[in-house]
């Protein structure tokens, strides 16, 4: 399943870091962070609890870039 989230991130490299962090989160099959459109597209693994996974994604992203926001 794919879902798109609006994000707020200031620099292109931070967007790359967020993408890496998201990809490594459990329950995420793949992720794309588009800096230009300020969107994050997350593909979840089958049967993953989307809400719980996104909570972890946010946590992981805050770790690499404390300034970022994800609108859940």
């Amino acid at each position: 399943m794919k879902k798109t989230y609006k994000i707020e991130v200031d620099c292109a490299n931070c967007a790359n870091l967020m993408e890496d962090a998201t990809k490594k989160t459990e329950g995420v099959a793949s992720a794309v962070v588009n800096f230009m459109t300020q969107k994050m597209i997350v593909e979840f693994e089958e049967g993953a609890d989307v809400k719980a996974v996104m909570k972890n994604v946010l946590k992981a992203c805050k770790k690499v870039e404390p300034d970022c926001e994800i609108e859940l």
Binding site: T4, D10, C11, A12, N13, A15, N16, E19, V32, V33, N34, F35, M36, T37, Q38, K39, I41, K63, V64, P66
Partner: protein, 623 residues
Amino acid sequence: MTRKQRKNLTRIIISAVLMVVLHFIPVTGLFRFALYLVPYLIIGYDIILKALKGIKNRQVFDENFLMTVATVGAIAIALIDEGDYVEAIAVMLFYQVGELFQSYAVGKSRKNISALMDIRPDYANIEVDGNLEQVDPDEVEIGTVIVVQPGEKVPIDGIVTEGVSSLNTGALTGESLPREVKEGDEVLSGCINMTGVIKIRTTKDFGESTVSKILDLVENASSRKSKSEDFISKFAKIYTPIVCYSALALAVLPPVINLILQNTANWGDWIYRALTFLIISCPCALVVSVPLTFFAGIGGASKQGVLIKGSNYMETLSKSKIVVFDKTGTLTRGVFEVNGVHHNELEDKELIEIAALAESASSHPISKSLQSAYGKEIDRSRVSDIQEISGNGVLAKVDGKEVAIGNGKLMDRLGIEYHDCHSVGTIVHIAINGAYAGHIVISDVVKETSKEAIAAMKKSGISKTVMLTGDAEKVASQVAKELGIDEYKAELLPADKVSRVEELLSEKSEKAKLVFVGDGINDAPVLSRADIGIAMGAMGSDAAIEAADVVLMDDDPKKIAKAIKISRKCLGIVYQNIAFALIVKLVCLVLGAFGITNMWAAIFADVGVTVIAVLNAIRALRA
């Protein structure tokens, strides 16, 4: 400016003013330290917090850490020597100014790009009892008639059923000339209706419509990273720790050696030099500008109707040396047109009229091209007794005359003598009342811009152009000669195209990249086999969009040269920035280590370089 940017600007102003005011207040000792701490914390608290968080999260070495260590160190030296606190505050201040500038510039260019790609229609108009009603385009079923008023976006692909208008297709194709549409014409979603009200019968769901597909492509433009980006992120990972340890060595070793040699240690001096070293070495200019250049490049390209799926493709495209084309639909229009009428007794027009009438019942592409050459409404009542002879042609009565129209075999069969043609293309012979009346040559037409496109590619450094086609040898050689293509292979099956591309791939050197350009029909395997696959005008073909690395929104071959040019410019900027930043930093680092530069120069070396690199990166937007 966003709220965050305004807040940062306020912080910068307040702390700058405080710094100036404090300069005139005659206090000393700890009280002075406490006073100067105020502007320092105002301007730097978030950096310090981020550095602490980084340490907590075991991501120690980043620019926040460098800045914090350098400024805290400078303040400590000032506290001990009763020296100048201004430097430490200024370092933070300028760092923040640099950040603010960069975030403003980036935000602005980002908005430019997303505004261009803002083609998502919000609603569709449906007529209900004579009134227009706005509905969600997702809910419109195929076959519904929707109304598009001037100034509105066409929300869903369809066919015009009523009205005349001109459409701005700029968002789809980058083409600035408006396209005229009338009843019966196909319109793509994402175009903007400019002049008249049109009614459209939808032929697709919203999700399958052009506009949705383009948005999907742009938003998913996966950040597959290019080698240069990988290089930078790996570089930053190794570089920052190395710099930190070098700075530590610079702070500790010389004084210790001095002590051993029984000279004065000069701790303060060397620590100051080490801190300067730290500030100069901050890799922001690279870390920020390289990904930004790729983003701007991809954005600028999509503005031109060239969708590049990732920065790695941008990089490969810039190294392309060999371009392989599919012929039909790529270099030629893929539409058959009447190209000549020979050996005819009647007027050209008359012969075409008779041919079009006789073929009027057939749905063969040949019959369609005859009808479009005739250009008028077919009056079916003039035709009777139509008899189609499969693989040969048609016999019919037109205006009472017996007409036979078809290939050489048909003429042989009827025992009519005919002239064969030396021209390239499909030859349609016509006999009227048993006597030969001439033949019509129908062939595919080369696109107007093809020749120019090939020349532009040659000029931009493409060393070899190759055309692959399933068409006959005679046709291929003529097209290749006309367009100035170096090499061609004719009469290929789709599978042969793959093996031919593989041959070309193995012949070339590793550095020269091979581009394959196709119109997306039957090309998917070759598109994915080449180093870079470009699909053109491919909005109709999902397989091609999937397989291609670069998608051209219209089918103008000139866009291929454009795409290559954009990618070269983008990569050029990347290399400029890398070289510029590294050289300036290296020079400053050496000077700093010898104590020639001070912290002021260091902060300019860092922020100045970043600002210039960001400005340079944004150039990639204007393709």
